[in-house]
Structures are given as structure tokens and as C-alpha cells.
């Protein structure tokens, strides 16, 4: 259900901590044909609420519906369709030890990261940056034969 008018959007959803609240949200997206590109969830410290960040695509009408339908779910406390935000994403990449480690370290540090673990056969680099830059990092890392890439999904906060 994607088309050319679709725009990338990031939505934050503040929910009451309940066992099935995440299922309600993902079922809503699946049932109404909305896309989820990435999703992160974690409890909000010192409250009984959690913060869910959803990266999605859609035209203006779809976005309005997503926001309203989310709001309709009983445990949903607040829905923020981000306009002016700071957004970050984390990625972990595993490389064979035989690759050029100093190149990898330099590359990672150019993207606000570094090597975080060195094992017998593998090294792990970590980067936390804007999603667009994380994408660039992954493209640049391609030539060092990464064997595993784990992205964390977007988190965002309104400026």
C-alpha cells in the first residue's frame, strides 16, 4: 500500500503499561493496512507508561487516520506526530577479524561510534546517529564484508 505521495513520518505513542498494548498497536497497523518501517518500545522511567516510537509511511490522510486510530485505543495516552524532532538510531555491525580494523574504527567514529567488542573471530562496531547517517554508515561498511547488521529502530524526541 505504498505510493509516491507517501512520506516518511515518525510517531511517538505514549501508552499505559499493559500486557497486550503492543499487540493492539501492531494489530491496528496490520488490520488497517498501514506500514511499520521500524518500531521501538521501552518503559518511561518513574511512570507506569511506555514510549513507543513508530517509523511509518503514508500520505497526509493516512497519517491523520493513523494518529486518530491510535488515539482511539483505550490504553493510548498520547500520540505525537513529530514535526521538529531529534531522532537517533543505533546499529551494531559484526565484521570478520581479518578485515582492516583501523579502517573500521575510523569509519565508525566518523558516525559517532566505535568498536565496542573484539572477539577471537569477530569485531563489533556500534554507531548511534540520525537514521539517514546510519544508512550511510551501513553502505560504507559494506566493503568490509559485514557478517551481521542489527539496527535498533528510530527513537525520537520533539525539539
Amino acid at each position: 500500500m505504498t505510493n509516491s505521495n507517501d512520506e516518511r513520518r515518525v510517531i511517538s505513542v505514549v501508552v499505559m503499561n499493559e500486557s497486550s498494548v503492543l499487540a493492539r498497536i501492531t494489530a491496528l497497523f496490520a488490520g488497517r493496512g498501514y506500514n511499520i518501517e521500524s518500531l521501538t518500545v521501552a518503559p518511561i522511567p518513574y511512570t507506569d507508561m511506555s514510549h513507543i516510537t513508530i517509523e511509518t509511511r503514508g500520505n497526509a490522510r493516512v497519517m491523520e487516520q493513523i494518529t486518530k486510530q491510535l488515539h482511539k485505543l483505550i490504553p493510548v495516552y498520547k500520540v505525537i506526530e513529530h514535526e521538529e524532532m531529534v531522532e537517533k538510531e543505533m546499529v551494531l555491525v559484526k565484521f570478520p577479524i581479518a578485515e582492516n580494523l583501523s579502517d573500521i574504527a575510523a569509519l565508525a567514529s566518523a558516525y559517532n561510534g566505535g568498536i565496542v567488542n573484539v572477539g577471537k573471530e569477530m569485531v563489533v562496531a556500534q554507531v548511534a546517529d540520525e537514521p539517514k547517517r546510519v544508512k550511510h554508515f551501513i553502505e560504507a561498511a559494506e566493503r568490509y564484508n559485514p557478517c551481521e547488521i542489527v539496527r535498533g529502530g528510530v527513537v525520537a524526541i520533539e525539539r
Binding site: 497486550s20 482511539k72 483505550i74
Partner: protein
């Protein structure tokens, strides 16, 4: 007070003032049934199928405006109830369904009669709960009733593991609920309401578009007053029949796929749609790009997600229809009703050009005649339920509905098998009223076992079967759009209706003439027993007007014109 979870369920039902519960027992819910046996705060009606229990609770809720309650066991008991939940969900009916679940320790193990009830019912309930401890049970029950009836109403499922119904704990039913994430908007923004009123005063061809929300919010008197005061003509959706009252000169009729000519033309030509509790369903709008093409739109709805979902709205007002219209009325004291005079006359001419009509016959009963005759014979004092198909549309078109909650049907989901159990629920709520289920020879068989329930509990509902020996509505589409290939719609093979109903403890009438129709109805009302009036009607009759699916509202297939005397 110390009591078991099962007792808490009964106490909550009593505390909510519920007088009748519909249900069906089984393993996981047996402790609750044991408590039902011991109490006398409410009656329990044993339907013969869980789907029917939920429809009956639904019919009860639609007839009264109160929360309907149904109770089922886990596994197949619950899955049988799903169609009932979905039916209520699509029409925003306040309802609480309580289901048994396997004990907590067995959840997730594929235990006997275990099914993920909250998972299955998530998209067809307003909200649902799996109770995880006895401590939270009273709060959840309280919230369930509150959620069911507040905001945009809807069905709520409470799934209770068996061990929680056995466990003993302290019971205090909460006085109030506290759900920080749930705050429905009732009032309507004053500034928006003022702007909408200004638009009404400036319009030349305004139109009231009335939906089921007006029934749900008990706003019909206010809406009639609004029409009266402004002299703005009105159209009703299928769910809103009865709001304006059939005799109201401002009512044009029902709009949509089977709407009448004047209503659909009004919607096509209006310059201001005043939408009250309607949701622009595709069966109403037809082709969206042609719908109300020349109009600005005022949309009053308690559910913000309904607003601008399908059409762009110029004056969105989130709020309860009753409260919003109440605010509008004094602002319209200086409205100039003459302004809309020319518009009213155009619409009157449209109605004269193509009135809601059919060609009657002396040889065979026409289904439309049967509905009109019912209207003449029982009219205002009856409650009419229906199933789904041609008979439903003829009932909506031809019955003179006089007040809301007089017409009970499954509009959103279109559930065949709804009519009889819903009639049972409605009759239990209003024993003094004649309750008639207008049904088809297909639909009635989809919950026919409920004849037994009606007979046992002496709930005398009259089932008028408009028998065309067809799945008529599907047959009609095959006639128009599938080159008359009648694939699997011929119901020539029929049960013996009289024997069928009599075997269940009711009375049967076979009706083939107009005289027999009158006589059977009169006898049915006097006998006061559940009955079938098996009315043989014209087989190939079509529901007209008809807007083919996806077509523009003004492109209607019209009934043949009846030439009046003096006309050529």
C-alpha cells in the same frame, strides 16, 4: 466483603442494573453459572447458540439504549460469539460479553478449549480484557460497563480464567473509573459550532444527513427540533430510520445504494451537508468523488477518527450529537427559513417525479406490499427487527418508522441470522410491544434454533418470512451484474416451515394471499406465541432504486413508473 470471582461477576451485573443476561454455559464458565443459580438479582436466558446469545443481548441494548450482557464459555463458546461481537462493533452497540477462559496455569499450553479470545476479538471489540488476577476483576468489570456505554459505544469482552472465578477475595465494586488515557469529547468546540451555524445561515441548499449516532445519543427530539426550526430537509441512513418520523414532511427518505430518488438527488445537489452521527459508509456515499460534490460539509461525530476518514470536512465538530445540536438551536433563532424554500420545492418535485414505489399485483403478494401492510396494521406500536437481504431493504424503505429504536438491524456488518435472536432480546426488553422480525427464507435458517428459546421462555416474536425461494439479494446482483447466472442462490428446496416452527413449540402460518396475510397477523398477535408467517412473495422482485456499487448516487436504476390517472 469476601467472595469468589464468580460471585463478583454476578454482583457487578446486579450493581450495573442489568435485568437480563443471555448466555450458554460450559466448563470454563461453570463457577459463574453456579452463582447465577444461587442469585436472584437478574434473569438468565439460555439461548441455543452463543451467537444468538450475543445478538439477543445486542437486540436488548438497541431496544433500550442500555448495556446488553452475554455470557459464554471458552474455546468454541467464545468463537461462536465472535460474529455477535463484530455485529455489535460495526454498529457501535453498548455490550459486555463475559467469556470463560482456561485456568491461568494452562494459558499458552493449547489446553482443552483454550483459544486466544483477546487476540481474536481485538479488531471487533471497542476494548477487551484478559483478567490476570482476582484483585483486578472488580475494576475491570466496572471499566467494561463504563467503556461499553461511554464515548462512541461498543462491545467489550472480559475473558476470565476459570481459577480466578473460584478464588476468594475482597469485593468492593468501584464507584468510579479512572482511565487517564480515555477521555471522550462530548461538548463540541464552541467556535466550530458557531462557524457551522454561520454556514447553515449562508447556505441555499442545506441538507441534514442523519446517521445511527443520533439514535445512540438519544438526540432525536433535538434533531427534529433543528429540522423544524430551520426547515432544512433531511435524509436518514439505514441505521437512522425512525429519527425524523415517517410522517415528517421534512424527511425525504433513506439515502444510499437503495435510497429513494429524492434523497440521493438531494445529496448530489446540496451545497451544505450537515452530517449528524453518520460515517459516510460506502453503501451510503457511492462513488466518493461524486458524493455531495457541490457541498461544504459539517461533520458532527463523537469519534474523531470518523471525521475526514473518507471525505474532506469543512466544519469538523467532535462531540456528542445531542450536546452539539443543543448548542446550535439557540444560535439559529434568527434563521431565515424562506431561504431554503426554493430548495425544498426542487426536492418535492424530485419526489413526485420518482416516488418510492412498486407495481402491486393481484396474483401474488409483493414483498413491498407486505411491509406496507404491516405498517398499516401494527405501525407505531411494533418494534421491527430484520435479517439481511432484500427483505431488510424493503423494510427500511417501506415501513413507516416513527421513532428511533423501533428499527433494529445489522447495518454495518450485515449479519444474516441477526433478526430472530435480536427480536428475542428486544421483546424481553419491551414485553408490551409487538415485536416482528422481517426475515428471508435464507436468513431465518441461520439462527432458527432460537425458536426453541422463544417458545421455552414465552417470548412471542413474530417472524414474517418474505419467502422468495432465493438468497434474493445475491440473486438480484446475479440478475443485474452476472448475466442471470444464478450460482448457488436458488432455495427451491425448502423445509416445511409450519412443521418446523411447530416442532419447536410455535405456530406456523402459510400465507399466499393478502387476505391470509391479514388473518395470520391478527391471529399471531392474539395467540401470543412465537410464530412463522411464511409469506410466498414474488420470486424475482428487485430492490429499487439501486445505485450499482461504486457508482455515483445520482445514477440510480429506478422502479418502473406507475402512471397516475391523468398522466400519460
Amino acid at each position: 466483603m469476601q467472595m469468589s470471582g464468580a460471585q463478583m461477576v454476578c454482583e457487578a451485573i446486579i450493581a450495573e442494573g442489568v435485568k437480563t443476561v443471555f448466555g450458554y454455559p460450559g466448563g470454563a464458565i461453570m463457577h459463574v453459572y453456579d452463582e447465577i443459580y444461587k442469585q436472584n438479582g437478574f434473569e438468565h436466558i439460555l439461548t441455543r447458540h452463543e451467537q444468538a446469545a450475543v445478538h439477543a443481548a445486542d437486540g436488548y441494548a438497541r431496544a433500550t439504549g442500555e448495556v446488553g450482557v452475554a455470557m459464554v464459555t471458552s474455546g468454541p463458546g467464545f468463537t461462536n460469539a465472535v460474529t455477535g461481537l463484530a455485529t455489535a462493533y460495526m454498529d457501535s452497540i453498548p455490550m459486555v460479553v463475559i467469556s470463560g477462559q482456561v485456568p491461568l496455569s494452562l494459558i499458552g499450553t493449547d489446553g482443552f478449549q483454550e483459544i486466544d479470545a483477546v487476540g481474536i476479538s481485538r479488531p471487533c471489540t471497542k476494548h477487551n480484557f484478559l483478567v490476570r488476577s482476582l484483585e483486578e476483576l472488580p475494576r475491570i468489570l466496572k471499566e467494561a460497563f463504563y467503556l461499553a456505554r461511554s464515548g462512541r459505544p461498543g462491545p467489550i469482552l472480559v475473558d476470565i480464567p476459570k481459577d480466578i472465578t473460584v478464588e476468594i477475595g475482597e469485593f468492593k465494586y468501584p464507584d468510579s473509573v479512572h482511565i487517564p488515557s480515555y477521555k471522550p469529547t462530548y461538548k463540541g468546540n464552541n467556535r466550530q459550532i458557531e462557524k457551522a451555524v454561520e454556514a447553515i445561515k449562508k447556505a441555499k441548499k442545506p441538507l441534514l444527513y442523519i446517521g445511527g449516532g443520533v439514535v445512540l445519543s438519544n438526540a432525536y427530539k433535538l434533531v427534529r427540533e433543528l429540522a423544524e426550526k430551520t426547515q432544512i430537509p433531511a435524509v436518514e441512513t439505514l441505521m437512522a430510520r425512525g429519527v425524523m418520523g415517517a410522517k415528517n414532511p421534512l424527511l425525504l427518505g433513506m439515502l444510499g445504494m437503495h435510497g429513494n430518488y429524492a434523497s440521493n438527488m438531494a445529496m448530489s445537489e446540496t451545497d451544505l451537508v450537515i452530517s449528524l452521527g453518520a460515517r459516510f459508509d460506502d453503501r451510503v456515499t457511492g462513488k466518493l468523488s461524486e458524493f455531495a460534490k457541490y457541498a461544504d460539509i459539517i461533520h458532527v461525530d463523537i469519534d474523531p477518527a470518523n471525521i475526514a476518514k473518507l471525505v474532506d470536512v469543512d466544519y469538523p465538530i467532535v462531540g456528542d450529537v445531542a450536546q452539539v445540536v443543543q448548542k446550535m438551536l439557540p444560535m439559529l433563532d434568527d434563521v431565515n427559513t424562506d431561504r431554503y424554500q426554493a430548495w425544498r420545492e426542487i426536492l418535492k418535485r424530485y419526489d413526485e417525479l420518482h416516488p418510492q414505489s412498486y407495481v402491486d399485483s393481484d396474483e401474488v403478494i409483493k414483498p413491498q406490499w407486505a411491509i406496507e401492510r404491516l405498517g398499516e396494521l401494527v405501525g407505531e406500536q411494533a418494534i421491527i427487527t430484520s435479517d439481511v437481504g432484500q427483505h431488510q431493504m424493503w423494510a427500511a424503505q417501506h415501513y413507516p418508522f416513527d421513532r428511533p429504536r423501533q428499527w433494529i438491524n445489522s447495518g454495518g456488518l450485515g449479519t444474516m441470522g441477526f433478526g430472530l435472536p435480536a427480536a428475542i432480546g428486544a421483546k424481553r426488553a419491551h414485553p408490551e410491544k409487538t415485536v416482528i422480525n422481517i426475515t428471508g427464507d435464507g436468513s431465518i435458517l441461520m439462527n432458527v434454533q432460537e425458536l426453541v428459546t422463544a417458545a421455552e421462555y414465552k417470548i412471542p416474536v413474530i417472524n414474517v418470512i418474505l419467502n422468495n425461494h432465493f438468497l434474493g439479494m445475491v440473486r438480484q446482483w446475479q440478475t443485474f451484474f452476472y448475466d442471470k447466472r444464478y450460482s448457488e442462490t436458488d432455495l427451491s428446496y425448502q423445509p416445511n416451515w409450519k412443521q418446523l416452527v411447530e416442532a419447536c413449540g410455535g405456530i406456523g402460518y402459510d400465507v399466499t394471499t393478502k387476505e391470509e396475510f391479514d388473518a395470520a397477523l391478527q391471529d399471531a398477535i392474539e395467540q401470543d406465541k412465537v410464530c412463522f408467517m411464511n409469506v410466498a412473495v414474488n420470486r424475482f422482485e428487485n430492490v429499487l432504486p439501486m445505485v450499482p456499487a461504486g457508482g455515483a448516487l445520482f445514477n440510480m436504476m429506478l422502479p418502473p413508473k406507475i402512471e397516475k390517472e391523468g398522466e400519460k
